[in-house]
């Protein structure tokens, strides 16, 4: 069984978000870039499955769409334990563009399970995994909180409103994973970092695809009114404020 983990390169979650060029572009100045947190958990689960001899996972490959400056993020995924990596050499213009590029990768190199985190922490679209599945006419399961392989078959737990379902789908399939898929992201050890230097990154040139969307402007959230403090000895006053001002209780 071969697993492909698609990773996105995002600003560290503690980044102070700012924009430039008349609020049309994200200000990358001084930004620390990381593997998207959900993709990191997805990679961790793929590696756990590879460690489990019974699961029969032969290799874990990571794929990413980005220019050469994103290679440190890919090396990090290799240091954590991925066997090899693929980079499609293009700016990730929108979700449709990225999904189309990754679909080409999957067509060239066959995989049994293709994993995505539920969303990227920058554009929060939750779109690339489902789009890739449709490009390739593969089944996709979303909101996946557990993925096991038993006797060569995948057993998937997905979250539904107010509960969970255990489902199966035939391979190859796309799994879009979220909370629960792995407890903590795996951290690169020194040995992994050394080994990552020599692991292969295959670079593919992009295919021509017109994006369907364009981000034309960004704005900051409206500042919230300053916090009204109520004395800890008198929570009644808080209840009165909530009743009179918010009308919600």
């Amino acid at each position: 069984m071969k697993i492909l983990v698609c990773i996105s390169h995002v600003p560290d979650t503690t980044t102070k978000v700012k924009f430039v060029e008349g609020n049309t572009k994200f200000d990358t100045n001084g930004v620390q870039w990381v593997i998207n947190p959900w993709d990191e958990l997805s990679l961790t689960r793929a590696l756990e499955l590879k460690d489990d001899a019974g699961a029969g996972v032969k290799s874990v490959t990571v794929a990413h769409v980005g220019n050469a400056t994103t290679e440190p993020t890919i090396r990090k995924a290799l240091a954590i334990g991925a066997d090899d990596a693929i980079r499609v050499n293009a700016e990730p213009v929108d979700a449709y563009f990225v999904a189309a590029q990754l679909a080409e990768v999957v067509k060239k190199e066959q995989f049994d399970i293709i994993m995505f985190g539920i969303e990227s922490s920058d554009y929060n679209n939750s779109a690339v995994g489902g789009m890739l599945a449709e490009f390739l006419n593969l089944p996709s399961v979303s909101a996946v909180s557990n993925l096991k392989i038993e006797n060569g078959k995948a057993a998937i737990t997905r979250e539904i409103d107010g509960g969970k379902e255990t489902v199966t789908v035939p391979t190859p399939f796309v799994a879009i994973v979220q909370k629960g898929i792995a407890k903590e992201p795996r951290i690169a050890a020194m040995r992994g970092i050394m080994m990552a230097r020599t692991k292969p990154i295959r670079v593919y040139e992009p295919i021509a695809i017109e994006p369907l969307t364009e981000y034309v402007e960004f704005e900051m959230p409206k500042p919230r009114a300053a916090c009204k403090f109520v004395d800890a000895e008198n929570p009644k006053e808080l209840i009165a404020l909530l009743q009179n001002e918010t009308k919600l209780i």
Binding site: S121, M131, S140, V141, D161, E165, C227, F229, P235, I249
Partner: protein, 321 residues
């Protein structure tokens, strides 16, 4: 030309989310001077289908087939795409929930229709068609142009008010041909009797400041009195003090209730990212410099264990209990 809205049903029933979606879709239809068609899949009674007419649906189509019983992203996408094509829909509105996220991206590729996801307002303009959405996990909002002839919008939950807009609604029930599903459901585990975190108007949430899993009863009591759902921060769920489905935050559930009461939560960036869409935030924390107070409108600086029982008393008094 119509605006199509996919309204999920839960064992044949709609809920507030469905009415938000139809209200939103009918407003978009009004902007475009066209009509609204709602589509749902499975067994739903005529009376229930007609309810959508109260919120602006001109027509409701219910597609039936035994194979549509459980969510299969391909089959659902194909069914909705068929209706969209038959109705000549130029805009398709879907919820930004688990099932919406499973369907909308597939539909985008199938129809080659631009997808705007997590949209929280009416379109900013029709030409170019520009939507307003959350970005950078709540750190910003983006204006996104959807460049194709057909557009798909997933609407963020609780971002649009339910508006009555009574229509003389036409109901169509259609038996459709569907392939066998690839997704086989082996087992279902439902939480029973609990208010769903993603549906709740009020959420009471506890963090590490609660000190111990044994201290939760006043928080749960407060939630019950307010008709609220309970939530928690990541450390609390990681420690196993509360079940993982209660974790609200960037890597847990992203929620946007009308009122979010954070007790003993300092407000790490990742937590704020998951709750910043709430209309009002109340914070109770013993550290006045905790970042949660920067996003809260109401605050109490004090120890959760001491403040909570007093709050419970105050709410009991208010509700005359």
């Amino acid at each position: 030309m119509t605006v199509l809205v996919y309204t999920e049903n839960w064992e044949g029933k709609f809920k507030k989310l469905s009415f938000e979606l139809v209200s939103y879709a009918s407003k978009v239809a009004e902007m475009m001077a066209t009509t609204t068609t709602a589509v749902t899949l499975g067994e739903v009674s005529d009376d229930e289908l007609k309810v959508l007419g109260k919120y602006g649906a001109d027509k409701v189509i219910c597609l039936k087939n035994e194979n549509l019983k459980n969510l299969d992203s391909q089959l659902y996408t194909n069914a909705i795409a068929q209706v969209a094509q038959a109705e000549g829909s130029k805009v398709i509105v879907i919820a930004n929930n688990n099932s919406g996220k499973a369907i909308a991206p597939r539909l985008s590729v199938k129809l080659k229709a631009a997808l705007g996801s997590g949209v929280s307002q009416l379109p900013l303009s029709l030409s170019p068609f520009t939507v307003y959405k959350r970005a950078f996990s709540g750190g910003a909002f983006a204006h996104v142009v959807l460049k194709t002839d057909t557009k798909i919008i997933t609407l963020a939950q609780n971002s649009f008010d339910v508006v009555e807009n009574i229509k003389d609604v036409k109901v169509e029930k259609v038996d459709i041909q569907v392939e066998a599903p690839q997704t086989a459901v082996k087992d279902v585990q439902k939480q029973s009797g609990k208010r769903l975190l993603t549906d709740a108007e009020i959420v009471v949430s506890g963090g590490r400041g609660m000190k111990s899993p044994d201290n939760w009863s006043p928080l749960v009591e407060l939630a019950e009195l307010l008709g609220a759902a309970t939530a928690c921060s990541r450390p609390v769920s990681d420690e196993g003090w509360r079940p993982p489905e209660e974790h609200a935050g960037q890597t847990g559930k992203i929620i946007a209730p009308n009122l979010y009461i954070a007790v003993g939560i300092s407000g790490a960036t990742q937590h704020i990212a998951g709750v910043s869409g709430s209309k009002y935030i109340v914070a109770i924390n013993n550290d006045k410099s905790a970042p949660i107070f920067e996003v809260a409108q109401y605050g109490i600086v004090g120890d959760a264990q001491k403040v909570l029982p007093k709050l419970v008393e105050a709410v009991k008094e208010l509700k005359g209990k």
